[in-house]
């Protein structure tokens, strides 16, 4: 069997703007099915998924996401780090707009306007590789969504703050004990609104690959 999926992989983008058109259960189930087939250490399959379509719940998740991301981006700006990060953007209006989008946390609010969120969590007890297994599960879902013509984005931001995670768990009625479940991220899924204007550049192989040993860049 030889089926190259590089076309699907290399054309996927993080989509944060969606139309109001709902996503059918049939498509959601296909994405969930893709999650189920992800690799996991010792086939432990620690993942559990919550499909959120309720607009009120999505709005609550959005507010927490905005706080989590906004506070970090706000401080990055105030400490002068964001200016360095976007020094390459010459158009001042464009730069200001981008910085506002980040500093307010709206960058993490917009995904929750998607009609479907899939919250990804993993059972911790008796497991060995939970974060890595969950990441593979997320990638499977992103690729499947893209192959179906849907837009999706992986949102990790709110899951990095223990206090925010506790609130997210309370909203979703996930047991809040730190030893029970790891809530790692959510994926927003919907029909893309327009085309993304600025595909993010990817590093060339020459910059990321070493042959045989660290530091050897030449293939032969």
């Amino acid at each position: 069997m030889s089926k190259d999926i590089l076309e699907v992989i290399s054309t996927r983008q993080s989509i944060r703007r969606y139309t109001a058109e709902p996503v059918s259960d049939e498509l959601i189930l296909k994405i969930l099915e893709a999650a189920r087939w992800a690799p996991s250490g010792e086939n432990e399959q620690p993942w559990e998924l919550i499909v959120v379509r309720n607009p009120e719940t999505r709005a609550k998740i959005g507010e927490l996401s905005k706080i989590g991301t906004g506070q970090r981006m706000h401080t990055e700006y105030c400490l002068g780090e964001m200016e360095k990060r976007f020094a390459g953007i010459e158009d001042p209006a464009k730069k200001a707009s981008l910085m506002r989008f980040l500093c307010t946390g709206d960058v993490s609010l917009s995904p929750t306007t998607a009609p479907v969120l899939i919250v990804v969590m993993g059972k911790l007890k008796g497991m060995f590789d939970v974060p890595y297994d969950l990441s593979a599960c997320i990638e499977n879902m992103l690729l499947e969504a893209h192959s179906l013509g849907l837009g999706a984005v992986w949102v990790h931001g709110p899951a990095v703050y223990p206090r925010v995670v506790k609130k997210l768990k309370e909203i979703l009625r996930i047991p809040t004990g730190v030893g029970e479940y790891k809530l790692i991220a959510y994926i927003a899924i919907g029909w893309p609104e327009g085309q993304r204007r600025h595909p993010r550049p990817k590093l060339p192989l020459e910059e990321i690959v070493h042959w045989e040993e660290y530091g050897r860049r030449a293939r032969n």
Binding site: G70, Q71, R72, H74, T75, C78, L79, G105, V160, P162
Partner: protein, 165 residues
């Protein structure tokens, strides 16, 4: 007696160092926000309160000094009201911070800042807090920590310059 106390402190900081090293290795700089609760129990269990930010900070700093966690500590607030600057001298955690730095890891977890920020949330019901920047001068045994404190969601995104603060 002092020797024994120093050995215990050394042991305790070595444990913290190893844990922080591991967390950094697993999470890179995401270890920083993930560790926001480290230290938070100390003032919370003492139920340190205050009617407003200045009063609360005064009470927190007194408790921290009197308990011997640091030799001296002071604070200032940025005009925006969203940046709290802490200056901490001779903290009991200086050894682990210096060791992290010597291993090429920027210190990312200040239990002293964490315990103060936790009280701002717990006693004054601020929306959120975030340790923005930790500068450790191991030669002078002094740290300067800048923390974001937001009492409402509207403050997030109302940026100002903290570089010279």
């Amino acid at each position: 007696m002092n020797n024994m106390k120093n050995r215990k402190l050394e042991y305790f900081n070595d444990l913290l160092y190893r844990l922080e090293e591991m967390l950094y290795h697993e999470l890179s700089m995401c270890a920083h926000p993930k560790s926001e609760l480290v230290g938070s129990d100390f003032l919370a269990s003492g139920k340190i309160e205050g009617a407003n930010l200045e009063q609360l900070l005064g009470n927190c700093l007194t408790e921290i000094k009197e308990s011997g966690l640091v030799d001296d500590i002071s604070y200032s607030l940025h005009a925006s009201g969203t940046c709290l600057r802490l200056s901490v001298g001779n903290c009991i955690h200086m050894q682990k911070e210096a060791r992290l730095k010597s291993e090429g890891i920027e210190p990312y977890c200040c239990p002293i800042a964490n315990m103060i920020l936790d009280r701002i949330l717990g006693a004054l019901h601020y929306l959120t807090t975030y340790t923005a920047d930790i500068k450790v001068d191991e030669d002078k045994r002094r740290c300067v920590i800048k923390c974001a404190v937001f009492d409402s969601i509207g403050k997030i995104g109302q940026v100002s310059d903290w570089t010279r603060f």
